[in-house]
Amino acid sequence: MAAPLTGNGASFGISQRNAVQLAMAEINAGGGISGRQLQLLVEDTKTEPPVAVTAVNKLIYQDKVPVLIGSAASLDVPAYMEMLEKAHIPQILPVAVLPKITESHLKWTFRNALNDKIAAAKMAEFAYNTLGARKIALLIEDSAFGSTGLRFAERLKELGVEPLTVERFTRGQIDFGPQLLRIRSFGATHIQFWGYYADYAQVARKLKELNMKVQLMGNQAPVTNKTIELGGDAVEGAINICLFVPTSEDPAAKAFVQKYQTEYGEVPDTWAAESYDGMRILAQALQVAGAVDPFKIRDALAATKDFKGLTGTISFNKDGDAEFKETFVTKIEGGRFVPFKMAASH
């Protein structure tokens, strides 16, 4: 496994490592795969793409691993993913959401995280179908990351609603007044945000200050306790797309949260749940493959269908992206992320 254990992505990487270790210990305690125990080798990518390349190189050519659990840091992955294609080593990616990864027509990469573009489309369906929103404004970060949010506008148009306006902002902006006042002048009732958590909290605070009563909706990135710390009561009621929240009532989720908490002394986040699922999808593929053969493991991963995980019912599409039957949406209530569940969108 390659994971960003230090650097900017450390919080993701540590969740990834903890959850994979937890899942692997359970699998090994249950007799392993066809009687063989699994072994985990971990390399730190330091959230630096060149280090990720070295780490993956070492795992493939020196340690000769048959399969890789890929880095949780989105920008690490493009640096090494072509290498896996050449080396014929399959990878499962549990956390990285960058759309570009699966747009490269890779044959050896499978992602059980929620591709940010798919998330944008799902959020549009949620806003249109479940919330019945028709007057929606977009507020997106002016970057490649934020532009993923434009998929929301596309999907919304397909559903028959034109977004009122698309406003852009720069990361770390102090005053969101200019954009929000424009949005107000269009009479929007819902704002779909795409960006970084600190800006999300700033937007919520400015909405409160301007006394604007609109529903704030966001991407996956703000689903972190930092949002609540920075936004305080201003973020109450905000809605985000997210694969897993620890307050879920689902028995499997509850059991996972409890085990994780006993082991590591903290509540698991969505990245931990996704990593746990990733490891279990991989174990299922190893079982199906029946041999430690990268080609067979790849085929078994590709054939994954309706895997029931903590984060939903997962099948891989031809790009190697997970298609989820459900859409999980979370709402901030009483200073916590709680599930805002809806039925399947199709």
């Binding site: 002016d142 720069t170 102090i174 005053d175 200019p178 006042l181 107000r184 600190a198 700033q202 305080g232």
Partner: protein, 292 residues
């Protein structure tokens, strides 16, 4: 029309912060003929000091502001004594400027070690219902930032104008040799100028805290904006720094609201370039500053 007025009003809040930084730039420039590249980082240091006082010591807003300004004053004093004063008489302007870059890197680096790159929430000690004024939302933050900034500016002005030390500072900045001949301790006035500019930056940091969040690289862009404000107003001019700061804040908000946020910084720094080539002395021309 309502939206336009609201946009302008919004720009004033950040404008006051830029003005405080611009004042610091001007003060140091006037006394030391120096562009202080650490100005933005002193602002960041002030924000963190204020954050610690508010969160760890649980002080209310006013003591936080006063204490931070005082602590930043002494921080500035120490920085000037330790890094800028030694051999300053024979050092070239470039040499001193590079020393301030060193200070800037040092401040950012030590904050990184202590706090990492995370954002921290500054407690909202003053939040309350915004004031409605004929359809306009006047945020409390604007009232507080504006009042506090104006009060600090007034104190500074009175100090420079009516105290012996302030007069000595002005004299030393106009004619160093002449000032020394009549017995003014010029190195001391230089330290004082640097310490005052650090105090102003620290005040900016505390005032912006509740509106934004506190993080390690927060001073970089704001420092540049403060510098732009000082140039637009006229480097070395006190009223110029204030007008320049408010202008930059409003230009920023108007370009975000009516052009695009992508162009916001390009427009502000474009104006900086135009000012430098067309009217390098700024809106308020310096009177005696360059005669020394």
């Amino acid at each position: 029309m309502n939206t336009l007025a609201q946009q302008i009003l919004g720009g004033l809040t950040t404008g006051f912060i830029y003005a405080l930084l611009a004042l610091g730039f001007s003060l140091v420039y006037q006394s030391m003929r120096l562009i202080n590249f650490a100005q933005g980082d002193l602002f960041m240091a002030g924000a963190f000091i204020g954050y610690l006082l508010a969160v760890k010591v649980h002080l209310p807003f006013l003591p936080v502001l006063v204490l931070t300004v005082t602590l930043c004053f002494f921080l500035g004093l120490a920085i000037e004594r330790l890094t800028l004063a030694p051999r300053s008489r024979t050092a070239s302007g470039v040499n001193l400027m590079i020393r301030t870059i060193g200070v800037s890197v040092f401040l950012q680096g030590s904050t990184l070690l202590l706090f990492g790159t995370e954002e921290y929430r500054f407690p909202d000690q003053l939040s309350g219902e915004p004031i409605l004024f004929g359809g306009l939302v006047v945020s409390r933050s604007l009232v507080i930032v504006g009042t506090a900034s104006l009060a600090l500016m007034l104190v500074l002005w009175a100090f420079l104008k009516y105290t012996a030390l302030g007069t000595a500072m002005r004299a030393a900045s106009q004619d160093r040799t002449g000032a020394e001949m009549i017995g003014i301790d010029v190195p001391r006035t230089r330290s004082l100028a640097y310490a005052l500019s650090a105090a102003l930056a620290g005040a900016g940091g505390v005032l912006i805290g509740p509106l934004w969040y506190v993080h390690q690289s927060m001073g970089v862009m704001i420092g540049l904006k403060g510098f732009t404000a000082a140039v637009i107003g006229g480097m070395g001019s006190m009223p110029g720094a204030i007008v320049g700061g408010l202008c930059v804040g409003m230009i920023e908000n108007l370009s975000t609201g009516y052009v695009s946020s992508t162009w916001k910084d390009a427009i502000v720094f474009g104006i900086l370039l135009i000012m430098l080539s067309v009217r390098p002395d700024g809106i308020f021309r310096m009177r005696s500053a360059e005669r020394a």
